[in-house]
């Protein structure tokens, strides 16, 4: 059999690294296969991809053992440019891979490098743009596109090179749910349409699993599992490495087909097997709790618009009380970040007032507001200012003239909160992505803010790291900090926050208890918010008495067990 990609005993160690990024990988991928590669951060997925397109060992230096063959070529002897004509690679961060000043130039860049004649380039550009639904975007600047459009542009740019193999390294990580579904479908269409091999790296399995032929699970540079979707799912979970989607786990628990990915299929199969009756769970949706504590953030009819653009905020009024944990949800570009920036005075309302901790933001300088408010940005690299963790931690303290005698105690307390005390003396460059995110949070916590605003704390992190961050946020809230977090993750928001605010086109589309939000299908769909799988299933089972706001896996499992038991009891 002829393989597109073959790894023969491949190990790789980055120059200066302590351990192997890949160790003893043997792998054969036949032509036309669609393969999902999954595993926790740092498990070697990206290195595996880089081996295929020759970045390892030609760009990233290190020690490569074994052979990687792409078609008939040994990557060790081929050039990256040569391999690029065979292997099209798309990376996680769309912005970092767009290099020219217009979409059309971007898509033409690859074919130009390959020396494709001009007439054909224009044809390929048109074709690639139409298959990624970007027609009409030719003259737009890539860095002014939305995340989803940028990723589509990167895919178009790769597609126009007509590669034999597509390698996608977490192409969905930076997108919002509606963007994710669209880009994923586009990827599959592009590869299947031309019957090419596709390798896709992804953390969130529930969306990708139904679409792929084969799954690789990696950890610590090794392939732990390799097989068809059914085989890999049947082998069960691996703690901290591989957690199957909730519906799959429930399907196994109740003896259904392990390749059950949709709530609808689960429900039909379950009903066929055990005709379902009714249960009457004791739980009731708690009425909207009227928060009696002090208001700490107040927006009064706030309007704001960016230069030459439509209004970003249109008459926003809301009150957040001391001690609340609020999730701010909505599509990309719906005004979430604009709203958050008003709280700390980075933006001033054009009309209306913003009052934070009793002070009018319009007349209070940002650096004074920061004594009360901690603000964490999406990309930790943007707010880290020092080379050493200790310097980073004390920077804010110095800026606010805190007594140096308190430094050590405050730094330690903040690092302890985010579980990073062991890196106190480390260099920031040596930290991993998840650690940097937590460090950025810790450096804000040294000032012991009363209010914490966090913008997308979990972008590009694996499920384990995501859970850690949310646990920390929850813990801080329990200690009395008022928290406003911007997030795409409805499932986590529902599990951790009590109140949700949904923004849509600069207006508040919903403001109330999270559980009320997830039971309101209309609002969820109108804002392209994706229900957690558990809730989707609960919704299907609503007519059998299961509360539609169920979000915990265990709770749903309990209800299902009751239902099945009742069905057999009759």
């Amino acid at each position: 059999m002829e393989y597109d990609i073959e790894f023969q005993g491949v190990s790789f160690r980055y120059a200066g690294a302590q351990s192997d990024a890949l160790s003893g990988v043997d792998l054969q991928i036949p032509r036309g296969q669609i393969v999902l590669v999954t595993g926790p951060a740092g498990s070697g997925k990206t290195t595996l991809c880089s081996c295929i397109n020759g970045l390892v060992p030609h760009y990233h230096e290190g020690e490569l053992k074994g052979e990687v063959l792409v078609r008939a070529y040994h990557t060790r002897r081929a050039r990256i440019g040569g391999l690029a004509s065979l292997v099209g690679m798309v990376f996680q961060d769309p912005e970092s891979q767009l290099v020219t000043s217009s979409v059309a130039d971007e898509v033409a860049f690859g074919p130009e490098n390959l020396g494709v004649p001009r007439a054909q380039i224009n044809q390929r550009v048109a074709e690639a743009l139409s298959s990624t639904r970007l027609l009409g975007f030719e003259d737009r600047e890539p860095h002014n596109l939305s995340g989803g459009e940028q990723q589509a542009c990167a895919i178009a740019a790769t597609h126009a090179m007509h590669p034999e193999i597509y390698v996608m390294d977490e192409p969905l990580a930076n997108l919002d749910p509606s963007g994710r579904a669209q880009v994923l479908q586009m990827l599959i269409d592009v590869a299947k349409g031309r019957q090419k091999t596709l390798i896709i790296v992804e953390h969130s399995l529930d969306e990708v699993l139904p679409l792929v032929d084969r799954v690789l699970v990696m950890n610590e540079g090794r392939i732990l599992r390799d097989g068809t979707v059914a085989e890999v799912l049947a082998a069960g979970d691996i703690p901290r490495v591989f957690t199957r989607p909730e519906i799959v786990r429930l399907a196994e628990r109740f003896g259904l087909d392990p390749k059950t990915f949709s709530a609808e299929k689960f429900y039909t199969d379950l009903n066929a097997r055990h005709p379902l009756g009714m249960i009457t769970p004791a739980e009731r949706l708690q009425p909207t709790s009227t928060n009696s504590s002090q208001p700490i953030i107040e927006f009064q009819d706030v309007h704001y618009s960016y230069k030459n653009q439509t209004a970003a905020l249109q008459g926003v009024s809301l009150t957040i009380h001391t001690g609340e944990l609020v999730a701010l949800l909505g599509r990309n570009g719906s005004g979430k970040t604009t709203l958050a920036r008003h709280i700390i005075g980075l933006l001033q309302p054009e009309r209306g007032r913003v009052i934070v901790a009793g002070r009018d933001v319009a007349v209070t300088p940002t650096h004074e507001l920061t004594q009360e408010i901690g603000f964490c940005f999406q990309n930790p690299n943007h707010q880290l200012v020092a080379f050493k963790v200790r310097d980073e931690m004390t920077f804010g303290l110095k800026a606010h003239n805190i007594d140096p005698a308190e430094f050590d105690q405050r730094v330690r307390r903040a690092l302890e909160l985010v579980n990073l005390l062991d890196v106190l003396e480390a260099e920031i460059f040596d930290l991993g992505k998840g650690q940097k995110q937590r460090l950025a949070l810790a450096s804000v916590l040294t000032l012991e803010p009363k209010i914490l605003i966090i913008d997308e704390p979990t972008t590009g992190q694996d499920p384990q790291m995501t859970r850690e961050i949310f646990d920390i946020i929850k813990h801080l809230n329990e200690l009395g900090t008022t928290v406003l977090m911007i997030t795409h993750r409805v499932d986590y928001a529902a599990a951790y926050a009590s109140r949700a605010i949904v923004m849509n086109r600069g207006q508040i589309a919903f403001d109330g208890p999270v559980l009320e939000l997830i039971s309101d299908l209309e609002i969820m769909q109108a804002n392209s918010l994706d229900l957690p799988d558990v809730t989707k299933l609960a919704l299907q089972l609503h007519k059998h008495g299961v509360p539609p706001w169920t979000i915990q896996y265990e709770a749903l499992e309990g209800y299902l067990a009751q239902l099945v038991e009742a069905s057999h009891g009759d």
């Binding site: 891979q97 020219t100 690859g110 130009e112 490098n113 700390i344 980075l346 020092a386 450096s443």
Partner: protein, 340 residues
């Protein structure tokens, strides 16, 4: 203030990038050739009127206004220090001590210098405002492997003829010293002009190696992104409680260094991203055989503009050749002579 490309489809936008580059070069040479302030002023006005039709007038004015003071200073220097021996003396700038004489020639030259500088600056502005940087980079990048013989021949002939005329206009004595026979003389000059033209067009036609051209293109594309990133970083710093504009100077320097580190890191990171991105898209496939989507093509309007520039150059040189290159100065001097 950066001069950024303004999208549009006006007259100047439609010109070929090479025409605009040559327009700028031509304007610079004209600014050297033409010495009369009135003629230079007319040239400036003409260019300004053309430019204001293609670029937002307010933007153009605000950019030029900043330079008025600087160029006036230049003019003042000319007025003060330009004192040839036979210059027509007017008055002393500091009368009591008889310091710094001001002459008619100095004043005229000062006024001319003012317009000369402005014309060159205006030409640069118009070029940058109406040409995508990518196209500009492309004009100076070597692209086609083999240029067509016809194109090469045409450009050599045109350039040769221009050089031939220039030689006759500017180096009259030298040419006459070459040989007694006028036919031999002409032949020598013609041959020299064509050889020079051939070499020149080879050099111009060669252009930058594609690697450098692409580096320029990619660099231009990064400017917008980096400035956006700088904005984000500044905001992040503000949000961490740094007073970004403190009154205390030492504190301000400290804040600036805190700002520079992440910006520096972001730039470094960006350059690595770019190298990975372009390598993955086949940048080193075979760079000398690279093709280009963007096509530079001369249209009849480009030829008209180029001819106009060449004609203006000739006219300027011809005026100098006839010793009537500076009518304004002549006119004033005559006026003064008649009165005295």
């Amino acid at each position: 203030m950066a001069i950024e490309y303004q999208k549009g489809n006006a007259f100047l936008h439609r010109l070929d990038a090479r025409t605009k580059l040559l327009l700028f070069v031509g304007m610079t040479i004209l600014a050297i050739v033409v010495v009369d302030p009135l003629l230079m002023g007319l040239l400036f006005m003409a260019l300004y009127l053309v430019g204001a039709r293609s670029v937002d007038r307010k933007l153009l004015n605000s950019n030029l206004r900043i330079l008025i003071v600087i160029f006036l200073t230049f003019s003042l220097f000319q007025i003060i220090f330009f004192t040839s021996k036979d210059a027509h003396f007017l008055f002393y700038l500091i009368p009591v001590k008889n310091w710094i004489p001001v002459t008619v020639q100095g004043l005229v030259r000062g006024a001319a210098v003012f317009f000369r500088f402005f014309s060159v600056v205006l030409a640069v502005h118009l070029m940058l405002y109406t040409t995508p940087p990518v196209d500009l980079a492309l004009t100076i990048t070597k692209r086609e492997q083999n240029r067509r013989l016809g194109a090469e021949l045409t450009s050599t002939l045109t350039l040769g003829l221009i050089l031939f005329v220039i030689a006759h206009l500017t180096k009259v004595e030298e040419i006459q010293a070459l040989s007694a026979d006028i036919r031999v003389r002409t032949l020598i000059v013609l041959a020299a002009s064509f050889v020079l033209a051939y070499i020149l067009q080879k050099i111009i036609g060669h252009g930058l190696p594609p690697e450098m051209g692409m580096a320029l293109t990619l660099g231009f594309a990064t400017v917008g992104l980096l400035s956006k990133q700088t904005e984000i970083i500044t905001d992040a710093q503000k949000a961490r409680g740094y007073d970004v504009k403190p009154k205390n100077l030492i504190r301000r320097v400290q804040v600036l260094t805190a700002l520079l580190l992440p910006i520096f890191l972001a730039t470094l990171e960006r350059s690595q991203d770019i190298s990975v991105a372009i390598l993955s898209r086949g940048f080193d496939y075979n760079i000398s055989a690279r093709t280009y989507r963007r096509q530079l093509k001369f249209q009849s309007i480009d030829y008209i503009v180029l001819t106009l520039i060449v004609l203006l150059l000739f006219a300027g040189m011809y005026l100098n050749y006839l010793n009537i290159g500076n009518p304004t100065e002549q006119f004033i001097l005559n006026l003064l002579a008649n009165r005295s």
